[in-house]
Subunit: 104 residues, 4 copies
């Protein structure tokens, strides 16, 4: 049974293909686009204190969610382009992180 | 049945709690960490042509996969902190994108 | 005699003071703003080839110059806030770079 | 009489030419490198409060200054590649900013 990310990846791939965007989607370009979306997300937080960032008003929150979605979309497009299984990649990285940062 | 992202989120949350990292994980800080990881990913691509970025050697590819995992981890931590369902967020954003960029 | 950067810094400082922005300009926040401006600059280049990036049309070029200025402004505001002499910092870093990357 | 930035630009250009780096320095690539350096700068601030970011210890401060220098170097390399006068660009942008954000 396909997981969430497989399903989203299929939908995102179909969306890009329908618009003939694949020719622009070299990994280098997708990484730049990913970085731009993270910055658009960050713009919502730049003048807040840490405390304020935990208590966004509904309008800010809605914008933040949209930017988070854009980040996820470009990350999945990059994974699809490179043939990377993101779920496996995260699990493998968390094993490395557990070695690097042992629990007390 | 929980999806991939729900399962990963639970694992990531447990990892951070075991290390008492939650007090550092204000959304503002998580967004900065997300941005730093995207840059570490980007560093692998900065001097490549678009064509070269589609043909990474195995060592570069392995490093890229690890950095992509770090990006996914911080995005899920941010979503968990803010109480955002990433799958729903992506679906909702893709509806908006379809309006903004109609298929030809 | 004051150099270019000293003069620009004085002008930028006066601009921020007149708007009472200093209370928002903690170094952490200025670095985030700097990062956001770099991303706005990068957005102009994300779908271009390397060759195209060397041949911007006048409209794109004008936008790029404005974003570069924003990057310079936030870098000087950060330097001013931290009491850093950017000219000295660059010279010192170039000495380190010359050791790290010896000329052939 | 040449200004600070003209002098630094000449030194940075000579440094890159001596290493034959100009062929890598397409504007697209320089912008990516600039973004990576900003992230290395940001990494120093990601887990700090705003208050802590105003009171860096000497070791952190020294690292921050080096990263700021790297940001300045890549910005000047980009300006040199594109034929942009950064001092004029900043002055022109500040005129626009004064219109956009009138002083109270």
């Amino acid at each position: 049974m396909p997981g969430d990310l497989d399903e989203l990846t299929s939908e995102i791939r179909a969306f890009a293909q329908a618009r003939d965007w694949h020719r622009y989607h070299a990994p280098k370009n997708l990484v730049m686009a990913l970085s731009v979306e993270v910055a658009e997300l960050m713009e919502n937080f730049q003048w807040l204190t840490n405390e304020e960032s935990d208590a966004l008003d509904p309008v800010a929150r809605s914008g933040v969610i949209d930017e988070m979605a854009d980040v996820q979309v470009y990350l999945l497009e990059l994974a699809d382009r490179l043939g990377v299984d993101m779920v496996a990649a995260v699990r493998q990285k968390m094993v490395k992180n557990a070695v690097k940062y042992p629990a007390p």
